[in-house]
Subunit: 319 residues, 2 copies
Amino acid sequence: MKNVYIGVDVGGMTIKCGIVDKEGNILYKESIKTINPKQSYMPFLISIKELLVKTIAKAKELKCTPKGIGFGIPGVVNNKTGSIDYVCNINLFHVPLADYLKDLKIPVHLSNDANVACLAEQLFGVAKGYSSVVLLTLGTGIGGGVIIDNKLFEGNEGKGAELGHVTMVVDGEQCGCGRKGCFEAYASASALNKYTKLSMEKNKNSLMWKIAKNDIANANGYTSFEAAKKGDVAAIDVVNKYIKYLGEGILNYCNIFRPEAIVLGGGVSNQGDYLKGLLEDYCGRQFYGYRETPKVEILIAKLKNDAGIIGAAALCFND
Amino acid sequence: MKNVYIGVDVGGMTIKCGIVDKEGNILYKESIKTINPKQSYMPFLISIKELLVKTIAKAKELKCTPKGIGFGIPGVVNNKTGSIDYVCNINLFHVPLADYLKDLKIPVHLSNDANVACLAEQLFGVAKGYSSVVLLTLGTGIGGGVIIDNKLFEGNEGKGAELGHVTMVVDGEQCGCGRKGCFEAYASASALNKYTKLSMEKNKNSLMWKIAKNDIANANGYTSFEAAKKGDVAAIDVVNKYIKYLGEGILNYCNIFRPEAIVLGGGVSNQGDYLKGLLEDYCGRQFYGYRETPKVEILIAKLKNDAGIIGAAALCFND
């Protein structure tokens, strides 16, 4: 019997579950639709237990012993009690997940989704070999994950590393978290989409319109990045504005954590080497935050959709 | 023979040196004027070695064995090579401190001054018993120290935790570090002094004038805090503005590190419980950064001028 670890990636639309070995290989994968609880969280919990029972049976078929079950949660967890405390876009509040799964008799670990993505990239992805890493997921919001001395840093109750919710402009844009001027409100994919659409409305001759097939509803971050690459002036302005805010955030995390590498994940990271080049240029001009400091590598996440499963499973590697 | 540790607190005006035991008691203290090197750093190094030779002799007199020498440096160090890389206000660049002290045959450790202050407060001061702590020194600038899981966090080469150099207002006030809009430019004692003087110029009837003996050159943060406590409207505005920026910075570090406690040191922290009360109110109204998170204690540093010596010595406790 080979030891394996079950990783569960809880998303707003889908819950993905996989059997992972200690080398980071996914031996089996399965997914279900996320049940968004209206009143009780029980249907959500029941669906997860069913998924796990099935996955555990599959592990036995594969002659494997599941040593732990790890969860990546898109919100606030309590890693001491194993509960999901708050996920706004799945309507989950104080869900006693680990407690409910007790009778499976396998240790359960929970962490934030960006934390597990960071762990996956550091163990098996683009940041392999780096001992201190900061990961930023640039999606609807901005998630953060931090590895210090080869160990996931989570803060008290696992509620640290909320790297998107740091004021970058006091009294600035309203953020979903309730505060104003958060990094997330200026440098998430949503912010980039907003900059793109605002510019299109002002610049009717921009190439961005052609790329979006003349419908602003089709426009997003891809639109401005593609037009900028082709030299469109309005799009270059959009991209420069975005790079400035993202760059300032990266410089902040260089100064705070002085990691060896900063990894970018999420939708915007699909801009790959082009994005990386612009950021290296912006951050390099500012000495990566501070003079006389070692360089911080900017890397593009590579495990993509598997990062959640692998990283969640990796939470259990010490079980 | 009792094991002791030598702590050296390098300041812009004075270098203080002490013999410290593992319980944090200072058994002997000595200080010299800081030699600000014009051309060569050798006079600076020679003066430190003399001070140490004297201190080591004193330790022997006291029947103690010095097991390590620790330094708190007001600038950028390299804790791998033991060099002082950059201290702008003592004109030090690439000073091979540990190397120069090799013949004393005692291990040498270097760290940033705010880091060692944080270590001192967590081991023997106001944050004793807390395992995760962020310290902010509110002086000419803002220094930062971080303890995670009872361990000092320093970042790559000891160049992390530059918590004052984090953009809080993109394109904002020019900061000494070269970037714009840093936390330090808005919430240091210097920033408070500036707010106070600007307000006095505008409000000729403010009580602040009386407290400053009708000379604006006497005005500083103490002036506005004292006048605010007595109900002066202009001074209350100054204090509220300051609390807002400092509060936003504290909330940011709650979200990033989610520590058990945030300790405030430096000149502004002399406002003690009054300052603490205002900040608890400001941060409490914003759920200490994020909903469903454990409360973060705001504490006032208590070791004051001894924190540097004790913390620097504590860098060597594992020698």
